[in-house]
């Protein structure tokens, strides 16, 4: 440990704070990290290969299992990608409902992030408070599609069923109780001196590095780049929604925390607009029973809670299954930035950096 | 009651152990510890004589010796660490060159 003797330490694959089976190989000089190598693949299930052998309808169930904390966003990406591949136009009501559920799912994902990130840094009560609100959201998902986590919420061409009776009412009830809860988290964390010490200036990644490394989502926005696919390439009903892209110039962990909290408030706003402006009409487009594609390729990105989630399809002539399916998982690309964020910093900052990147291993390893 | 010569015997034996440690061990850390042991033997004598004469001077001196011991350990350990960093060893046998 004295004479340039570095300790090599394995953070994971079984470790309380790596959020799954992430393994990070650290070279430590005392407590300072000199080299940081993320090693992934422990959860590799070959989703892309499986989807090449399943029809476009069936493939959606695998997207649930990628980013399992934001499965509705994944469903949306899949459904919209396939619709783009076939040129299907979705009814407006379905678009609104999709937008609302996706935003609720963003809330759920950000709440989970807040919970685990705070727990990593040591604040254990925020964990339970955030899970309490997430529970309401999961109840809403259960009411809509029957499952809480692996939702399989949407269908190609729209939705399977319309909203259940009473859904709007309970969603509105959640809307009413949610904003005070965010204030509560802020009271516990935002001004707390220990929280600020642990996050301000930690794991910095400026805008140039973010763009060069392909980092998207709240991490990019916390570096001051107002890039949001909901605004840049509007999908679903986002073009009709009125919301802002929260950004911060500091590009550190604290800025990401603030950006995500502000995003939660914006999502709350979007859901309110969806509830108020929900149009009447059918929820399913007219599509044939068996979809047969033409030769086509499509890359469809959406703004998942973690960043740009892109689905790349190659269609075969007359094929009912995708010839090639590829997922641009936001966590996969974002995780590349971990070594740049942490090298030269302390061991505890690695934990904060993993937390602030908000990685989900199901999505990274696919 | 305790006899003074018991104290003296034990302290001289402690001192002897310390000398033996300095002379026969090759680990610089153990040598440093042996020196501490000798200082403690001296302290024991101080206190025994203070007790014998009924004056606190000996105890005050023992306290001073303790402070010196602490200073000595700080410097000694710093030396050992510096040595280890330079030569990758704490064995006194291996330190036979003038230049590091």
């Amino acid at each position: 440990m004295f004479k340039n003797e570095e300790m090599e330490i394995n953070l994971g694959p079984q470790h309380p704070s790596t959020h799954g089976v992430l393994r990070v190989k650290l070279h430590l000089d005392g407590e300072t990290v000199t080299k940081c190598t993320p090693i992934i693949g422990y959860l590799h299930r070959g989703v892309e290969k499986i989807c090449e052998n399943q029809t476009y309808f069936q493939g959606q169930v695998w997207t649930d299992r990628m980013d399992y904390v934001a499965s509705i966003s994944n469903n949306l990406g899949w459904a919209e990608g396939v619709e783009k591949l076939f040129g299907i136009e979705v009814p407006r009501r379905a678009k609104y409902i999709r937008t609302m559920l996706t935003e609720q799912n963003r809330l759920a994902s950000h709440l989970l992030w807040l919970a685990t990130h705070a727990l990593d840094i040591g604040a254990m009560t925020v964990f339970l408070y955030a899970f309490r609100e997430r529970e309401y959201l999961l109840d809403l998902f259960e009411a809509f599609c029957g499952a809480r986590l692996t939702t399989t919420a949407f269908r190609i061409g729209g939705l399977r069923e319309d909203l259940p009776p009473g859904f709007i009412k309970s969603a509105q009830a959640f809307q009413d109780r949610f904003l005070p809860c965010i204030d509560e988290y802020e009271e516990l964390l935002t001004e707390n001196r220990i929280w600020k010490k642990r996050t301000v200036g930690v794991a910095k990644l400026n805008a140039e590095d973010c763009i060069a490394l392909g980092v998207t989502g709240p991490v990019l926005r916390a570096a001051g780049v107002p890039y949001d696919i909901r605004k840049a390439f509007p999908n679903a009903a986002y073009a009709e929604m009125d919301f802002e892209i929260p950004t911060r110039p500091e590009a550190d962990t604290y800025a990401r925390y603030l950006v995500r909290l502000a995003e939660m408030r914006q999502s709350h706003r979007i859901i309110q607009q969806c509830i108020e402006g929900l149009p009447e009409g059918p929820v399913m487009a007219k599509i044939p029973k068996i979809l047969r594609s033409e030769v086509n390729e499509v890359y469809h990105p959406i703004e998942a809670p973690k960043g740009e989630l892109g689905y790349y399809f190659v269609g075969e002539k007359g094929g009912t299954m995708p010839y090639r399916m590829h997922v641009r998982a936001p966590s996969f690309v974002n995780l590349q930035a971990l070594s740049k964020m942490t090298e030269g910093r302390l061991l505890a900052d690695v934990i904060a950096a993993i937390g602030t990147l908000d990685v989900v291993l199901g999505e990274i390893d696919r | 009651m305790v006899n003074l010569n018991t104290v003296l015997l034990i302290s001289s034996l402690l001192f002897a152990i310390g000398i033996a440690g300095v002379l026969i061990r090759r680990n610089a850390l153990v040598i440093l510890m042996s020196i501490e042991l000798m200082l403690n033997a001296a302290n024991l004598n101080f206190i025994a004589f203070a007790r014998h004469s009924g004056s606190v001077s000996g105890q005050a001196f023992a306290l001073l010796v303790m402070g010196f011991a602490a200073a000595e350990v700080a410097v000694g350990l710093a030396l050992v660490v510096a040595l280890y960093r330079k030569r990758d060893t704490v064995q006194v046998d291996d330190i036979n060159l003038l230049k590091g």
């Binding site: 300790m7 604040a123 254990m124 009560t125 339970l128 302390l346 505890a348 | -």
Partner: protein
């Protein structure tokens, strides 16, 4: 106090040691239970409400019957109480694993050192300044002897306690080293550095009451401080700052949040006791909670008024003639101890944890200057007025 012969002294000492041991062995499990409950309530859940097998056997039948009647079985605060027995049973019955590459002797020695250092402290702590009760004359050896509120009345009690608690660090460091594993080693190094650096402000903050009261005897010190005998009224300020610094350092000494870096589970899995299991782990656990109790006893005795009702020497405003409130009582002492223990749990549930270098910063850059200034102020008050 009647004079005692040697045998009587030894027997009385034995009785009192056993009493204190019983106190520890009751308080520590209750403390873990309270930790579950308090943190549970803070986190809008119920905490422990049932032990394993709550649905079988007699208690199971009882529980189910009461649920069927639409009643919550028993008082809900007490329903999880058997958990602490289950905890101890689990620790005792669990397989005691010594890793193959571990240094066996040191590995076994480390938890023992921890526990001994933690327990030994109690021999100088006075829970009550005088005799609690007198044994009736019909008892064979101890008849007519008083049962004191302390084991021994050490002249340099404060120093003794500080010295013993500084020995406790060896348990952690040796256990970490003997595990021959990397996470424990990092935890052990952190712990050694942390405890050594926080011992300085801790000791200095304790010097404030020592300076103000002019004694090193635990009992004398506490009584003099709380009654405010020959103390200027300004002394409340250095006492208050001293209390603040002492509690902060106490959190650090006992490795509690926000200073729980040696066992920061999100960084070092479980820190220095990662490789421990069974009763060896239980010893570390016991030592940590015992240390919490010790810190609470200290803070309560020196800053919060000890055996009297009001803290910081405010007791002088209540004349000794007031029947209950003016008199020293063991109840007041334990009330304060429990309050501080509750604060331990409350803070744990609220704040995040520091980073290692920030922890050192807090210790050396803020607490140490603060205590020095405080000490100087106390000396000024003592000698100027």
């Amino acid at each position: 106090m009647p004079t005692m012969n040697l045998t009587q002294t030894m027997v009385m000492g034995l009785i009192q040691v056993v009493a204190v041991l019983i106190l520890i062995f009751v308080m520590v499990p209750l403390l873990t239970f309270a930790e579950r409950k308090v943190i549970g309530y803070i986190q809008v859940r119920l905490g422990a409400t049932r032990t394993a097998g709550g649905h079988v056997g007699i208690t199971g039948a009882l529980n189910r019957g009461m649920w069927a009647m639409g009643k919550v079985p028993m008082l809900s605060i007490l329903r999880g109480l058997p958990v602490f027995v289950a905890d101890i049973l689990k620790l005792i019955l669990k397989e005691d694993i010594i890793p193959a590459k571990a240094e066996r002797s040191v590995f076994t020695l480390a938890p023992i050192i921890s526990v001994l250092a933690a327990f030994g402290v109690f021999s100088a702590i006075a829970f009550y300044p005088g005799a609690l009760f007198t044994f009736p004359a019909r008892f064979p050896i101890v008849g007519g002897l008083p049962f004191m509120g302390f084991i021994s009345d050490v002249n340099v009690g404060v120093l003794y306690i500080l010295a013993l608690s500084s020995v406790g660090v060896y348990g952690i460091v040796l256990g970490a080293w003997a595990s021959n594993s990397k996470y424990p080693l990092l935890g052990g190094l952190r712990s050694a550095a942390q405890i050594i650096s926080y011992e300085v402000p801790l000791t200095l903050s304790l010097l404030t009451p020592v300076l103000l009261a002019g004694s090193l005897n635990f009992k004398d010190l506490s009584v003099r401080l709380s009654t405010g005998a020959d103390m200027h009224w300004l002394a409340i300020f250095p006492l208050f700052v001293g209390f603040f610094v002492y509690t902060t350092c106490g959190f650090a000494e006992t490795n509690r949040t926000p200073f729980d870096l040696p066992e920061a589970e999100t960084e070092l899995v479980a820190g220095f006791h990662t490789e421990y299991s069974g009763m060896k782990f239980g010893f570390f656990y016991l030592a940590e909670y015992t240390n919490m109790i010790v810190v609470s006893c200290f803070a309560s005795a020196f800053f919060l008024g000890g055996y009297y009702l009001l803290p910081f020497g405010l007791q002088r405003f209540i004349p000794a003639s007031v029947p209950f409130l003016g008199q020293p009582s063991i109840l007041f002492f334990f009330l304060k101890v429990f309050t501080i223990l509750f604060a331990f749990l409350w803070v744990r549930a609220t704040v995040p944890r520091y980073r290692y270098d920030q922890l050192m910063d807090v210790g050396w850059k803020y607490l140490l200057p603060l205590t020095l200034v405080n000490l100087f102020a106390a000396a000024l008050i003592r000698f100027a007025f």
